[in-house]
Amino acid sequence: MRVVVADDVMLTREGIVRLLEDAGIDVVAEAEEADGLLRHVRLARPDAAIVDIRMPPTHTDEGLVAAQRIRAEHPEVGVLVLSQYVEPSYAMRLLEEHPERVGYLLKERVFDVAILVDALRRIADGESVIDPTIVSRLVGRRRREDPLAELTEREREVLSLVAEGLSNKGIAHRLFITERTVEAHVKQIFLKLRLAAEPESHRRVLAVLAHLRASAY
């Protein structure tokens, strides 16, 4: 797999590159800021770009903006945004316009290179990836009348994995159950949460996240 890495801090960029190379992933280019990243993506046509959310000049959301541009201009290139913020708003913003082949992971998550590699694979497969910390915060959110209380333990597990962006197949694989069972669980979950009929698979991540975030409980 060929990737481009963009991070303005040399230490972390080098760290990511070494981790990726050790895992056998081909880092075709490195960038320090958004323009360089876009140029490399255009020239190298990687499978995915790994982008730090904070980059020059304002160090706010340049990475997010660049990610959206890459998805718009190069639909075949996936984007994994690395962030230091546990902010569902950013993750949802990323999903809103291009709900597939995108990922939002906390920077330290990459420490476990297996997670990084898994995320890149899933993105390449057309799934989306949402950091489990964000999902668990949303699922674990305090509610007055918690509709999630109606869910069984297994259904909650499935719900979290849906929110993390896994496909039914991915969930089945993760939980060692059949895909058919996953489908049944998902159907049940959507019913219990009074969510509209299950949307297209790559849209359902956003729908679930938005529902978890909604405050009308």
């Binding site: 972390t12 760290g15 706010t60 230091q84 546990v86 915060r137 959110r141 305090r142």
Partner: protein, 586 residues
């Protein structure tokens, strides 16, 4: 023009009335002389003549005295009074006058009334001549009247040599020379027609320029008629070579008396109008009550003076800036047709009035109105100053809060860009080291590296929480709605976000609203609440944050939060289980 410049008046208000008995005596003396020897008199023995004599003189003196009582520093009053006395002087040249002094004064001041009236009309209502041309022409006319037709002929006029044996002695006589006397008179008349015509032109020109001010028109028209009549009389006298009192002269003289009466009445009418304006504004000021709303004085003045564009700005004594009634800084910039009148207290400027320039032409109107409004203006100036000081304080409070926020934000960024990045890099390195060691045997070193990696991970987590607590980056980058949603995600108790606002506000306002929710949630959790509902919404130009919970009643007044909201000019209402912050926003 300086309003309230008449602070130093010490003479009693009714002092000028002392003139009245003298005017009465001089008038009666003149009429008595005329009746005694009607042949040489203008008034003659007729009642109409007597009325003309006394009416014009007393009207002028009366108007002068009234004017003087109202405007002590104004030089118009002496001119009017002088004109009233001068009107009587021709009668004093009567051979039967019986007093050498009166006779001599009469000879010298025979035509003094004309320049005095013209001067008064040109200087009406301020008492000051406007241009150097006016000053020069008026000075020339005084010289023409008092010297070439007054003192000079008198010094060579020997009444006895001229055949007047009853005449009193001419006290100013130096050397009798009838030929020179005739020559002086002839040239004086020609010269007189000259300056009288120039005075007419100046008066008419002023009338044209000030035709919009009724009171000035009312005074100028009779003055012009009077000066024109005098000119006509001079022209009539040219063939005779000397001013006299034939039947034509007497008819013109009576018309002059009527014109002078009208002139005096116009001056009195102007005073009445001033008083009316003053009474109106005084009534308005009383209606303003003890605590008028800010800007009420300006409105009252604008209404009374009929100038909608009028502006009243108060000067701040310490900074010299000008502020409005609310204490807000304003720029004093008069428009094209506007004039600025500064107002003083004890010689110190306290305010400026920007008004229609034409108001300056109204006789005393501005001064009267400002005099009536004086207390109200001074009162409002003090209040404006207090408001301005409060605004200064509020602004400085806001700056302190803003500085604090900026500092927190900087700290948050430094944590993210510095320590956090280094920790991330460290954890990557640890991971790589671990991978290399795993290739060997493992054991103690592997365990150590794994543990170090975990420590780095939890350090990262804590650092992130710390940075977020110091300042939530999402607030500045995505606004209140996103930041409050995250706040609700993390809260230790259920937080129900009702209305929120996707709109962006200035950083201090967003920070204040966010802090209100943060502290409100903490406070509710501390009082054992099981949920908090949060509503954020805009009502016109105010952002309103409302929190409700079901905890025990609050005992803490949330002073810090109140300070923060107050710094933005907002208010915090702290109830038992409710909290409502109102922050003004643009």
């Amino acid at each position: 023009m300086n309003a309230w410049g008449d602070d130093r008046v010490t003479v009693g208000r009714y002092g000028p009335i002392a003139i009245v008995p003298f005017a009465a005596a001089a008038g009666l003396f003149s009429v008595a002389t005329a009746r005694h020897d009607p042949v040489w008199a203008f008034a003659g023995a007729s009642t109409l003549g007597g009325i003309a004599e006394l009416g014009a003189a007393w009207a002028l003196v009366g108007a002068g005295v009234l004017f003087w009582m109202r405007h002590r520093q104004n030089r118009l009053a002496p001119l009017l009074i002088g004109a009233g006395f001068a009107w009587l002087l021709p009668e004093w040249t009567d051979p039967q006058v019986g007093s050498a002094l009166a006779f001599t004064v009469g000879l010298v001041g025979f035509v003094a009334c004309a320049p005095l009236v013209a001067h008064a009309a040109l200087a009406y209502p301020t008492g000051r001549l406007r241009t150097r041309v006016h000053v020069a022409v008026v000075a020339t006319s005084y010289a023409g009247a008092l010297l070439s037709l007054g003192l000079l002929p008198t010094t060579v006029f020997d009444p006895k040599a001229a055949g007047c044996f009853q005449c009193p002695q001419n006290l100013a006589l130096i050397r009798g020379d009838l030929e020179l006397f005739a020559t002086f008179n002839r040239y004086g008349l020609w010269l007189g027609i000259g300056w009288l015509l120039v005075l007419c032109v100046l008066l008419v020109w002023r009338l044209v320029r000030t035709v919009h001010v009724a009171a000035v028109v009312a005074a100028l028209v009779p003055a012009i008629v009077y000066v024109a009549l005098v000119t006509w009389e001079f022209q009539h006298s040219l063939t005779r070579g000397i001013l006299g009192n034939d039947s034509f002269d007497q008819r013109v003289w009576r018309s002059e008396a009527a014109a002078l009466g009208a002139f005096a009445l116009a001056v009195v009418w102007g005073l009445v109008r001033e008083r009316q304006a003053r009474a109106t504004v005084a009534r308005l000021v009383v209606e303003l009550g003890e605590m008028p709303r800010p800007g009420a004085v300006r409105d009252a003045l604008a209404q009374t003076l009929g100038d909608a564009e009028l502006e009243l700005a108060y000067r701040r004594p310490d900074t010299g800036h000008y502020v409005d009634g609310l204490g807000r800084v304003v720029n004093v910039r008069p428009g094209r047709d506007q004039a600025v009148t500064p107002l003083f207290r004890g010689g110190v400027p306290v305010a400026v009035l920007v008004h229609d320039a034409r108001l300056s032409d109204e006789p005393g109107l501005l001064e009267e109105v400002l005099a009536a409004a004086r207390i109200a203006v001074e009162n409002e100036q003090l209040q404006a100053e207090i408001r301005a000081q409060l605004e200064d304080l509020r602004a400085s409070r806001a700056r302190i809060v803003e500085t604090g926020d900026a500092e927190r934000r900087r700290l948050e960024r430094n944590l993210h860009d510095g320590a956090q990045q280094l920790l991330v890099a460290l954890s990557y390195d640890l991971r790589i080291a671990q991978a290399h060691v795993e290739a060997d045997v493992g054991s103690e070193l592997t365990t150590l590296l794994t543990s170090a990696g975990e420590t780095a991970q939890s350090a990262l987590g804590e650092l992130r929480e710390l940075a977020h607590g110091i300042y939530p980056a999402i607030l500045a980058e995505a606004g209140l709605e996103a930041a409050l949603a995250t706040l609700a995600d993390e809260a230790p108790l259920p937080v129900e976000l009702g209305g929120t606002t996707p709109e962006r506000y200035s950083e201090p306002i967003e920070s204040a609203a966010y802090r209100t929710v943060v502290e409100g949630i903490d406070d509710a959790a501390g009082r054992g609440a099981t949920y908090v509902s949060v509503d954020v919404g805009r009502e016109e130009s105010r952002l309103i944050v409302t929190l409700r919970d079901d905890g025990a009643d609050r005992t803490s007044p949330l002073v810090h939060l109140a300070d923060r909201i107050g710094a933005l000019g907002g208010s915090l209402e702290v109830g038992g289980t409710t909290l409502r912050a109102v922050v003004p926003c643009v």
